[in-house]
Amino acid sequence: MSDALSADGSDVNQDDTQEDVMTPAELIAKLEEAWLNEKFSPELLENKSEVVECVMEQLSHMEANLQRVKKGDAKASIHRMEIDRIRFVLSSYLRARLQKIEKFFPHVLEREKSRGEGDPSLLSPEEFAFAKEYYANTETYLKAIALKRMPPNLQTVDMLKAVPEPCLDSFVFLRVKEKQENILVEPETDDQREYVVDLEEGSQHLMRYRTIAPLVSIGAVQLI
């Protein structure tokens, strides 16, 4: 796969004037990491809009290159498949995010509103607008169809209480990318006591998401 990409990527890099340019192969690897993490994590993760934008740019470059190749050439179908695969991964990533935004909409909006100045944002500006519209739309619907006909004291629904929160205690599979020491694991039952584990690079584990959530956001582990 990286062969097909670098053949087209060399055109891209020559035009690129950014300092921190990634090779196309690295960019796609980052997209796949973000995609897998988002798919398997129970909560919405940090948004990676720079990766999304770069990948879309990459896709349009590849499409443009494809137009230049004459039809019926065998290389064209391989490149076409490449484009389709990358577009699938990107779409799947964005869909996974949208589904989580819709599923946990009041909590997502609350988290975004209450995050600190320097904290990375959870939602891209477009996702934030979508989440707000979804909230308003749903609230309007419930009010118009049912709530306005209820007794005065029952005419609102507390969305934060009504919509369930993501279950951070669900178990996830992970692979360790950077060695970690002294990870504190909470006890499951009353008989157990809390203990620490060391995570070796390259090892794979099944743990509660809550324990390793910070490691996912810094990229020390990869959900699989």
Binding site: E57, M81, F88, S91, L94, E126, A129, N137, Y141
Partner: protein, 156 residues
């Protein structure tokens, strides 16, 4: 909270024996409210699923079962989703309702389940989609029609 107000009034007027009934009535009302909102929200989720699985124009028999507020919700949801998809990648846009499955091959064999008339593919050729006809078409053009039940993917 309202139950507290009523309870306080009952206490103030010396009719404390009413407090349990007030609390019970309030619990019943809350439960009814929860059941209703759960039912209505579940309907919304099904309509949302239809947008993703079927498309942005719902068939008449489905629309028949939707009330005016639901139609309104659906049309607003469609608009939100469309403007989100348009804004992706710095304004270029990406249709997220396509590419729902990992691509396995470029072209697929499809059989037509109902008459759908003429269908144009990228290089300009026009295919007539007649019931029971089979065609070998580019996968990305067929996705939507397969989801709508017009075409069927033939796996031999």
């Amino acid at each position: 909270w309202e139950a507290c107000v009523h309870s306080n009034e009952a206490k103030a007027e010396g009719r404390a024996e009413l407090i349990p009934s007030i609390k019970l009535r309030h619990c019943c009302l809350l439960r009814n409210q929860r059941c209703l909102t759960a039912y209505l929200y579940d309907r919304l989720l099904r309509m949302r699923a239809l947008r993703w699985e079927y498309g942005s124009v719902l068939p008449a028999n489905v629309r028949f079962h939707m009330c005016a507020e639901e139609v309104q919700w659906f049309s607003q949801y469609k608009k939100s989703l469309a403007s989100f998809m348009r804004s992706l990648g710095g304004g270029e846009g990406l249709d997220l309702t396509q590419d729902m499955k990992p691509p396995k091959s470029l072209y697929i064999e499809v059989r037509c389940l109902k008459d759908h008339g003429e269908f144009e593919i990228d290089d300009g050729t026009v295919i007539l989609l007649k019931k029971n006809s089979q065609h070998f078409l580019p996968r990305w053009k067929c996705e939507q029609l397969i989801r709508q039940g017009v075409l069927e993917h033939v796996v031999s």
